[in-house]
Symmetry: C2
Subunit: 240 residues, 2 copies
DNA sequence: TTCCCAAAATTGGTATACACTTTTTGACGA
DNA sequence: TCGTCAAAAAGTGTATACCAATTTTGGGAA
């Protein structure tokens, strides 16, 4: 495929920015609220309230909620009001296990398929992440990190040239960031290791070595995988 | 519960008879039409027509179509009419590759988790499939086979005790049966081998051997995986 | 034929109404 | 005080009508 990369580093408005459909708007807004922790597990999702808040009618809200329900971020039961899904430790483990399997596979495929343009993009992303980490410290850089990190993984998934795999990774195996902080080891510890692992994945991709790339990605994700018996002595505290 | 009088023209309910919602009805009907080949790639999906055919209003039809679109069985573009998705050889290959990875993983997990009840169920299913094959021949047994085979795989996915894995297998990696016939080797050839493989998977599960189960499931699915250079000399011809 | 354009058809979305179910409320009695 | 239970309120599920945006169709012109 031609390398029509030119991703947008801007907030979210792609230059195209054709009028978003109402369901897209609603879907993104609600999803964002959940993923960022603005809404928390168990919070109620009332169709009428969301409709007035977001500024569309009930119909697209319902479609958006159905989508989020299919993706596992929202729990819908007939005639009951929707609530933000709750993610237990086991849920987090399951998701990371599946991500490790699928993203590992994706990295392996990407190794023999990724374009130089995409490799450069990955390099840039990692460079920016590390720079922000140095400048802002592990506490302040988080906001930007999540976005850049997501793109880093998305670029690799895209380079695997397996559209269904890409879609599954993008829509069925997500976790709210807050859950990440709840179950994983402290942030600064895992951030340093993450950057080293990203560099290794990048090296494997540059070397066009599928097995290495798959193994490196696997190691990366398994190292993030919270364990029931692992080093989780730190308190959850406020997750906001 | 008060006995609510409803206009139920479908006697789909078994004993429980949980009244299906209109979107469930629409979703199942349309999905069934696509998977069985009653509707074929490129066929138009008109909301009004489907609404009158199925006997519900446009609203649940639209939700059903969106769901099927998310699952990849239907292609929706804004303001364009929906059409039944087209599955190329590469699509089929991709789906079988991903199924092999994920169902292999599922079988491995199932080996140490599956109950004796479920093992018995698998045994029964395979027995019935083989009996029907003997009695009806490879041509006539197909209709029943698809259903039983789907349950065989679904039982294993369920026994893996990984809800997201189960959901992905059930909703994101499906193929219309007709495509199966279009791209795979002739039916009678693969049917015989399939039964042998099912027996091996069953043996591995009974032995509670995860590696064996995973490998056997992998082999099963990879053997079904159509190859661009494989033994596909037979003509596609009419796919009806 | 091919191109172009207006008419018809279709989807996306809003608004409203109502049936059905869950959830809340509040009075009642032990 | 505490539970119980039925009525009231709230919320979802579906139907319907309507309009806007866009595609699709069909016919006429070059």
């Amino acid at each position: 495929m031609g390398g029509s990369l030119k991703n947008e580093m801007t907030r979210e408005g792609s230059k195209d920015a054709a009028t978003q459909s109402a369901v897209e708007t609603a879907y993104r807004r609600i999803r964002h609220m959940i993923l960022t922790g603005e809404m928390r597990s168990g919070d109620k999702l009332l169709e009428n309230q969301l409709a007035t808040t977001i500024g569309v009618s009930r119909t697209p809200i319902r479609e958006a909620l159905n989508r989020l329900n299919a993706e596992g971020l929202v729990v819908l039961e007939r005639y009951r009001r929707g609530i933000v899904a709750d993610f237990s430790l086991e849920d987090a483990i399951e998701i990371f296990r599946l991500r490790a399997i699928l993203e590992g596979h994706a990295a392996g495929r990407a190794a023999t398929r990724i374009s130089d343009t995409h490799l450069d993009r990955l390099q840039d992303l990692e460079r920016v992440m590390e720079k922000q980490f140095e400048e802002l410290g592990w506490n302040e850089h988080l906001e930007g990190f999540d976005k850049l990190n997501a793109e880093f993984h998305a670029v690799i998934a895209s380079a695997a040239e397996s559209p269904r795999l890409e879609k599954i990774l993008a829509s069925s195996l997500e976790l709210p960031a807050s859950i990440f902080n709840r179950y994983s080891e402290p942030v600064e510890m895992r951030t340093r290791r993450t950057h080293a692992q990203h560099r290794e994945i990048l090296s494997a991709l540059k070397a066009r070595n599928p097995e290495w790339a798959q193994a490196a990605m696997n190691a990366h994700l398994f190292s993030l995988l919270p364990t029931a018996s692992g080093s989780l002595e730190h308190e959850a505290g406020n997750v906001g």
